[in-house]
Amino acid sequence: MSLAVEIGGLRLKNPLLAASGTFGYGVEYEGLIDLSRLGGVVSKGLYLEPRDGAPTPRIAETPSGLLNAIGLQGVGIHAFVRDVVPRMRRHDTALVVNVCGDSVEEYAEVARVCDATPGIAGLEINISCPNVKQGGIAFGGDPRMTHAVVAAVRAVTRLPVIPKLSPNVADITVFARAAEEAGADALSCINTLVGLSVDVETRRPKLGFGTGGLSGPAIRPIAVRMAWQAARAVKVPVIGIGGIACAEDALEFLIAGCRAVQIGTANFVDPQVHERVLAGIGDYLARHGLSDVCELVGTLEYPGEAPRCPAGGSS
């Protein structure tokens, strides 16, 4: 049985990656889990320089979900390359860097550093973090800016370039196409949904930043829908992200058209969740007489004609 997939030049032994922001830099899990069981690890978002991140409190639990505003606290790309990459090279898993920037130039510069660093397998371009005042969503909320960032990164690297799209837009397909036109090798869909939790006693937001990004099983149907829309809009492969906590969740994304998936919030709940998801995918393939996980991708039998309305609509 083959679980290997190829995502725009990024070869993965299986279709499971750990999502950015939910797995640190990977090395935090050394000794606790077998990192080589993961197809890949996407790093916490990295700028050129270290960042403090958002004020506390930074996380709040919500029904089947987690609202966070970490604000991209990080060590910066240079410390990552010096301290983390050599350690992660010891593990047989693809290391993908989540690239951040306050400007188009900064994204490109981080990408340039990564390109010159053996041991980095791909770049996920973070144009969708809702928890920073500038950058992030400023680039992911305007298709021209999305195009500009992706094109700038594309110009400086041969590594697979994988923009991570925001769900906080009216029509994700516009952004998917803009990214593809700019030279993206694949797309990650989706980042968190902007939410607000209120402490009714203090009448203040529960998070220090104010609003936050919602993740976890609560967002899964939205994520599957948006990943499915993006996958139908472009030729490049899509990596599905959003609330995956078990094999069936991952299978939903694969059937909807994603060639790989990322597990995010569920890593906090159980750092070995990928073992269960992997085993469950294997069982499913065997039960359905499939020998290759790729045979499953995009096999959704949608009733009638799929709606063109971006949000799916309701009536």
Partner: protein, 284 residues
């Protein structure tokens, strides 16, 4: 090295009200736990609540391969844990975090615990008592019902000074009143340890700073992962030599910190930094 495994509940003791002692089978945590360390734990595999919860370890028994938590079942996660049937299974990662530093030879350990924050101090007190080292626990709550571990800790031979704000048990007033009275009445080398509500730990930190005593606190912010990846539990930490504070993960760089390194709410700098600035002015 912490271990991520299922842990079955082998004993549950109700202590009145919402308080429980819950004992779980977890060989690694039982063997390796040190005072001040914690586990991330969640009852069963249900979707709700989504996250595991951090609990400081009260006791560990390497022989029985168990550890015991002191739980106040007030939230979704703690209630589900307390409602587990015997033999019921929790998902548990641990032991985690930086433990308390032992007192130096001849130092008296003065521990200040408030509410369910007494748990890691119960562990520390037990260790010190077994080693025959001087230790005293100031155990505070609003009323006597908030001191459910009082009897047990005393029975174990720990020197406990209870304090209640309504005066129903022990010293009347805040637990720091009892601490200050002891500090006034005695002499010799002392080291402070505190765990409980933030305002209580802040008060202990101020007392330590004013008297030039070393003090460690076990902080309790919301935690997502317990292993330093979610960055949800960061606290502001500033050593004397740091020009400005940095966010540090309470799960991996704490939960135990030097009280003087914490930038407490309402203060711009840590006590260590403030002391350094004061010393500089005194020289100038």
């Amino acid at each position: 090295m912490p271990a991520n495994r299922t842990a079955s509940l082998v004993a549950r003791e109700g202590l009145g009200g919402a308080y429980f002692l819950l004992t779980f089978l977890h060989p690694e945590a039982a063997r390796e736990a040190q005072a001040g360390q914690f586990v991330m734990i969640k009852a069963g595999v249900s979707a709700e609540p989504p996250l595991r919860r951090p609990f400081s370890i009260l006791e560990a028994s390497p022989e029985r391969e168990t550890f015991t938590l002191f739980v106040k079942a007030i939230g979704q996660g703690s209630r589900a844990l307390a409602a587990l049937p015997l033999g019921g299974v929790a998902q548990c990662l641990g032991p985690l975090g930086r433990p308390f530093a032992a007192p130096a030879d001849g130092e008296e350990a003065l521990m200040v615990g408030g509410g369910y924050g007494v748990a890691p101090l119960g562990f520390l007190g037990g260790e010190l008592r077994r080693r025959g080292e001087p230790a005293r626990l100031f155990y505070g709550g609003r009323t006597s019902a908030d001191l459910p571990l009082l009897k047990r800790l005393k029975q174990q031979g720990l020197e406990v000074v209870p304090a209640t704000e309504d005066g129903t048990t022990g010293v009347a007033g805040r637990v720091t009143v009892a601490l200050e009275a002891h500090l006034e009445a005695t002499t010799g080398a002392r080291r402070l340890y505190a765990c409980g509500p933030e305002a209580m730990m802040h008060a202990v930190a101020r007392i330590a700073a004013a008297r030039g005593l070393a003090a460690q606190v076990s902080l309790d912010p919301w935690m997502g992962c317990g292993v330093g990846t979610c960055l949800g539990c960061v606290v502001r930490i500033q050593r004397a030599e740091d020009a400005r504070w940095k966010y540090r993960c309470a799960c991996t760089e704490g939960p135990v910190f030097e009280a003087a390194h914490v930038v407490w709410p309402g203060e711009a700098e840590s006590h260590a930094r403030q002391a350094r600035a004061a010393a500089g002015e005194a020289r100038a």
